[in-house]
């Protein structure tokens, strides 16, 4: 359908549209007109992506494709979903439009060369590719046909040099799979083709890292012009992504592995007498340009490499001294926290390396490796880490701290020294993005409280708004459970979590719910260790009862717990998320199967885990999600403490506020997994007495809060059960999807017309 949004014709790929999508588009349009940054929260399942894409693409058609859309997603899966949506949209555009949209991912996802693909990890695929496509390898192969090269790259290169680049890829929407099959059919390398084509594409869908991680961003996104519109989808964790992009941690293994690598490098350095180590930058072939400089300020990039590390052997000795120094720091017995300025000063005095040399470590290593024609870059991971560290630590005086921990806090007996350079300021990594591009759109299902994000990321949005979902029926049912069936409070507060009463009440809750809720239930726990503990004790109590059935029968709590574990299995199968990805995937598969075939299943998972972030439990895969406790971060962690301190000093954000915000956004993220569309329904139980307090509750996103009735705020297990039963019965009734009268939730083209006319009248 076509609709008018404030004078702009928007092509929308569906026959009908939700009212909040129209609203969303309107805000977006205003923001694009104003040319500023936007923060928009809209619940999942309301067609955020569709609204976003159709508005921006329509807008760019309106402007004759003067700007690109850079769409950043977190996972490859989301990338594919977005591209599929885009393809649908493209088929609804007016015919003469030539839209080119493509996804860009790592070599691992795009490569079609079977030899390269046989490598396991991402880094080794990269290295294998370089081994075949680096410019010196190719020039060698030119003289000596025995040297293996990549046939796909060769034919791509021939095609690229033959004609104008823009004609390589006909207009259309290309997912990663399409690119691969296109590459196979033409015999061209899809990765380099995609890299080349993003220059001409109207829409590019790629991962956050391509914009946020400075190492990658400089290569990939350098050429994007200022008029680009950047979208960060599912961006509720964007501050953490920013911080991770600039944090480095060095372990003992890192340093040791590094030494060997340097030795090898030095041998080859001597071997190659030609090496004089001057700047190699400039006219490098596209394949050689790998990780860019992590230093952000332009003045450093323009500065010349200082003279005392220009020679390779000098540089190597500097590196060796640095490693020696870091090693000596790692020998410490107690936890140390230092700021970068002091750290640099200490290096200067003890290892004799001044700040300027440190700054250029990364560049220098880069050019050295190019000179040495090293293609197996994966073996040089560690040395790169150290150089990253050196450059970062010397570049930033603020917003970072260095923390040296001799052992893991939770296992003090095992020495595992680690030196962490942790970034506290999320705005550092995202600042260049905000500065460079005209409009940056940050959007997600959960961005509450919405006023905190501008402070964390240090920007001023022209529009920040939270939308609610228009529903024909109350299809979500959040509840706050504060008491067990014995009316005692439940909580995962530190002093209460191991209390057998709390454990029992949680067990009882689960048991009641598995009997009353059909198909899938998802349980989120605050941490792996807590999950292990509580599942163990549920299980243990059950086993106790099992073996001593006759003796212990009289003790009340035992009977309860026996019910908890034995009966859970009677109603549903139990699956548990582990830290092993393969195991978890298997568990998820079986969980889905159990839900499909009617056996029913419970999935135990961890907030902040992989499952909580990326897996949907929509429809019957998740009729209920129970959040056991408030998922606070591990508050004794040094990094967190340092970050909290920094936030308080720099942005005046109170520790408590930030912690609660972070915990609640995780909780909202967890429970949001069950609703992925409007036709869906699901219940959410927040099982902790702390959720009923206003300061916690008010930080939940609006679309949850609006369904959280006062009567559901302080429930005990039996009351929750009653509500759950009622809710499930109500939801199983047939309903009218479009809604009726004033509560229309599905608008056709005429409805939208009428609405905009109505809006005109009121003005």
């Amino acid at each position: 359908m076509k609709l008018e949004v404030e004078g702009l014709t928007v092509y929308f790929p569906y026959e009908s549209i939700y009212p909040e999508q129209v609203e969303y588009m309107r805000e977006l349009k205003r923001a694009l007109d104003a040319g500023g940054h936007v923060l928009l929260e809209m619940p999942t399942g309301t067609g955020k992506t569709a609204a976003l894409l159709s508005l921006i693409v329509s807008y760019s058609i309106h402007k004759n494709f003067k700007f690109k859309l850079l769409y950043c997603t977190r996972t490859v899966h989301e990338m594919e979903k977005t591209l599929a949506e885009l393809r649908l949209l493209a088929s609804h555009l007016p015919t003469p439009t030539s839209l080119l949209a493509l996804g860009l991912s790592s070599r691992k996802n795009l490569c079609v060369n079977p030899h390269v693909l046989s490598a396991q990890s991402r880094d080794s695929v990269d290295a294998a590719c370089r081994r075949l496509t680096a410019s010196w390898v190719r020039s060698l192969a030119h003289d000596n046909p025995q040297v293996p090269t990549c046939p796909f790259f060769e034919s791509y290169d021939r095609a690229a040099s033959a004609g104008p680049d823009a004609l390589l890829l006909p207009p259309g929407v290309y997912t990663l799979g399409d690119l691969r099959s296109f590459g196979r059919s033409k015999g061209w390398c899809p990765y380099f083709l995609a890299r080349q084509m993003i220059r001409y594409a109207n829409v590019v869908v790629y991962s956050y890292q391509y914009l946020l991680d400075p190492k990658v961003a400089t290569i990939i996104s350098k050429e994007m012009q200022k008029e680009c519109v950047v979208v960060f989808d599912e961006a509720h964790n964007i501050d953490n992504v920013c911080i991770e992009a600039l944090s480095v941690s060095i372990r003992k293994q890192t340093l040791e592995a590094r030494l060997k690598a340097t030795d090898a490098g030095r041998l080859r350095a001597e071997y190659n007498r030609l090496v004089d180590g001057l700047a190699q930058r400039g006219n490098l072939a596209i394949t050689d340009a790998w990780l860019g400089n992590p230093a952000l300020p332009d003045d450093i990039l323009k500065e010349a490499v200082p003279g005392n590390i220009r020679r390779a052997e000098h540089f190597l000795s500097v590196l060796r001294r640095l490693v020696q120094y870091l090693k000596s720091r790692l020998l410490t017995e107690k936890v140390e926290t230092e700021n970068p300025v002091n750290f640099c000063a200490a290096i200067n005095s003890q290892a004799g390396i001044d700040q300027k040399m440190l700054k250029f470590c990364y560049d220098r290593l880069h050019s050295l490796m190019l000179t040495l024609e090293i293609t197996n870059t994966d073996e040089f991971m560690h040395i790169q880490t150290v150089c990253d560290f050196a450059t970062l630590v010397s570049t930033y005086a603020r917003g970072f701290s260095i923390i040296i921990e001799p052992y893991d806090e939770r296992m003090p007996t095992i020495p595992d020294p680690v030196l962490q350079l942790s970034c506290h300021d999320a705005s550092l990594a995202i600042k260049p993005v905000f500065d460079r591009f005209q409009s940056v759109i940050i959007t997600s299902g959960t961005l509450s409280p919405i006023d905190l994000y501008p402070r964390l990321l240090n920007f001023s949005p022209v529009i920040s708004r939270s939308f609610t979902m228009s529903l024909t029926r109350d299809c979500i049912c959040p509840m706050v459970l504060t008491r067990g069936s014995d009316q005692l409070p439940v909580s995962t507060k530190f002093d209460m979590r191991s209390d057998p009463g709390v454990v029992r009440n949680y067990g009882r809750l689960l048991l009641e719910m598995v009997a009353a809720v059909p198909d899938g239930i998802v349980c989120f726990f605050v941490s792996y260790s807590y999950m292990d503990g509580i599942v163990n004790s549920w299980n243990e109590m059950g086993i106790l009862q099992f073996s001593h059935a006759s003796i212990e029968n009289s003790t009340f709590p035992m009977v309860m717990l026996q019910l908890a574990t034995k009966d859970v299995m009677q109603h549903k199968l139990v699956f548990i998320e582990t830290q092993d990805v393969v195991e978890t995937t298997l568990a998820l598969d079986n969980y889905r199967k159990a839900c499909d075939c009617g056996r029913g299943a419970v999935f135990f998972s961890v907030a902040r885990g992989k499952v909580a972030e990326g897996i949907d439990f929509d429809r019957h895969y998740g009729r209920l999600v129970i959040m056991f406790g408030v998922p606070f971060q591990y508050t004794l962690s040094r990094i967190l403490l340092a970050r909290l301190q920094y936030l308080r000093e720099t942005f005046q954000i109170k520790e408590g506020d930030f912690l609660t915000f972070d915990a609640l956004r995780q909780a909202a993220q967890c429970v949001g997994r069950v609703i992925r569309s409007k036709a869906d329904y699901g219940m959410m139980i927040f099982a902790d007495k702390r959720y009923s307090r206003h300061d916690k509750r008010s930080k939940l996103p609006g679309w949850i809060l609006s369904h959280l009735h006062d009567a559901h705020l302080n429930l005990s297990t039996d009351m929750a059960l009653h509500i759950a039963r009622e809710f499930l019965r109500r939801m199983a009734q047939p309903y009218d999807k479009t809604g009726c009268g004033s509560k229309k939730t599905l608008l056709s083209e005429e409805d939208v017309m009428k609405m905009s006319e109505g809006a005109m009248d009121t003005y």
Binding site: A515, P518, G598, H620, H709, M719, I723, R729, Q733
Partner: protein, 432 residues
């Protein structure tokens, strides 16, 4: 006790009315409270839901009287009627319906059936309503057959063979009411599939599952069984008692049945009775079949003969098979000796109306359109539409074909029992 209230009535009428007004206000306030965020605790709501006090109402004299449920019933009836005619296709284009149905009712007697959210227990409610359903079913589908299957302990068990007598089925059901173990949808479907694949091709195969359990404990892949049922053209319908289960929904969608979940006992009854009228025939069955049937004569009084169903001598009554002259006690049935289907003509006639339903009547506003004079009496019962003493005129409806007006009671009678419109019929007579 209430008699005293009448004695005081003349003096207190004024006071009474003001009191009533106040009461009404209070009621409204109460309702507002309830609407506002359901401010009551869950345990309170359990009582509030039943609202037993609202069934009582005071009349002018202060006497308690049950609330006027008539209008409510009428509204519900109209809704149902319209729904049925809209889902069953428009009346004008007559659709084929399967009149000869072979229905297995699967009753879930797993552990979940002992839960007490229905009073006294789910199992008891299911049994009670199933009994009513079986009677209603045979009343509406005299040519059809019913069998009972139970699910318990992870197994499915055939309680009764498929047959045409309601009494035998009900008796068997009532004798077997105890629940334990798991329910197994797959086992039940496999069992029913085995039995239903033997029935003659003109019969419509149906399964109605009354499911209490929310899980099914299956030996294999239930999805395959669903596909087998689909291939065997068995129409599976499920009525759940507590919540929507994916596999049941999938089953119903695949096999063309309906899936509903009951809110409470009365809703359950309603849902169950929706299965009594025959469903539209599956397209593949649309080919017409000729079926051989016998119309036995009723035995003369005082004749002694040996009955084939009970194997004993009986005096008088009974029917004689036209082909092999054997005596049977009840119709419809299949002859024990020659296997002929034995029916009586009223049976056929009763089934017949499903094919030619009376069109739903249009509602007419009590005051009519301006310039149109409405008859003041119902065409059916000749009673005046205008209530005694100038009360609010009652709702009336008109037949879209003959444009006669009927009162709502006659409307119900015509649609539910008579299945003929008196207006249309009399017109036809006069024209002949």
């Amino acid at each position: 006790m209430y008699g005293a209230g009448v004695a005081f009535q003349p003096t207190s009428s004024a006071r009474g009315s003001s009191k009533e007004k106040k009461r009404r206000d209070e009621d409204e306030e109460e309702e507002e409270d309830d609407n506002e965020g359901k401010g009551t605790d869950a345990w309170e709501r359990a009582y509030a839901d039943e609202r037993s006090w609202e069934d009582l109402q005071e009349d002018e004299s202060g006497l308690l009287r049950p609330i006027d449920t008539k209008t409510l019933v009428h509204a519900q009836y109209r809704k149902r009627l319209l729904l049925r005619s809209s889902t069953g296709g428009s009346v004008a284009s007559r659709i084929q319906k399967g009149l000869i149905r072979y229905l297995y009712i699967v009753i879930d007697l797993s552990r979940a059936a002992s839960e007490t959210d229905y009073r006294p227990s789910r199992m008891a409610v299911v049994a009670k309503q199933a009994e009513a359903f079986i009677r209603e079913f045979f009343d509406q589908n005299p040519l059809s057959h019913v069998g009972l299957v139970t699910m318990k302990d992870g197994l499915a068990h055939r309680l009764t063979e498929i047959g045409g007598s309601p009494e035998a089925q009900i008796k068997a059901l009532m004798g077997k009411l105890e629940c334990c173990g798991e329910a197994s949808l797959q086992n039940a479907l496999e069992l029913v599939h085995g039995y239903l694949s033997q029935i003659p091709s003109y019969g419509h195969r149906e399964v109605l599952i009354l499911s209490s359990a929310l899980t099914t404990c299956d030996p294999g892949d239930a999805m395959e069984t669903v596909q087998r049922c689909k291939r065997a053209k068995i129409r599976c319908s499920v009525i759940g008692l507590s919540a929507e289960v994916f596999i049941c929904k999938h089953l119903c969608e695949e096999t063309g049945g309906t899936y509903t979940v009951a809110l409470n006992e009365s809703h359950f009854k309603e849902l169950l009775l929706e299965h009594a009228p025959p469903p539209p025939a599956i397209a593949e069955y649309a080919a017409a079949n000729l079926i051989k049937m016998g119309f036995p004569q009723r035995g003369a009084e005082g004749v002694v003969s040996i009955c084939s169903c009970h194997k004993e001598a009986k005096v008088g009554g009974g029917y004689t098979c036209p082909r092999c002259k054997v005596r049977v006690c009840e119709l419809p049935t299949e002859c024990r000796t020659c296997g002929l289907t034995l029916v009586s003509s009223p049976h056929l006639a009763r089934s017949y109306h499903h094919l030619f339903p009376v069109a739903p009547f249009d509602e007419v506003s009590p005051h009519g359109r301006p310039g149109q004079r409405l008859p003041t009496t119902c065409f059916g019962c000749q009673q005046s539409f205008v209530g005694q003493g100038g009360a609010q005129p009652s709702l009336r409806t008109s037949c879209p074909k003959c444009n006669q007006f009927f009162c709502i009671d006659c409307d119900i009678y015509i649609h539910e029992s008579l299945h003929n419109c008196p207006g249309c019929e009399s017109q036809r007579n006069s024209s002949v």
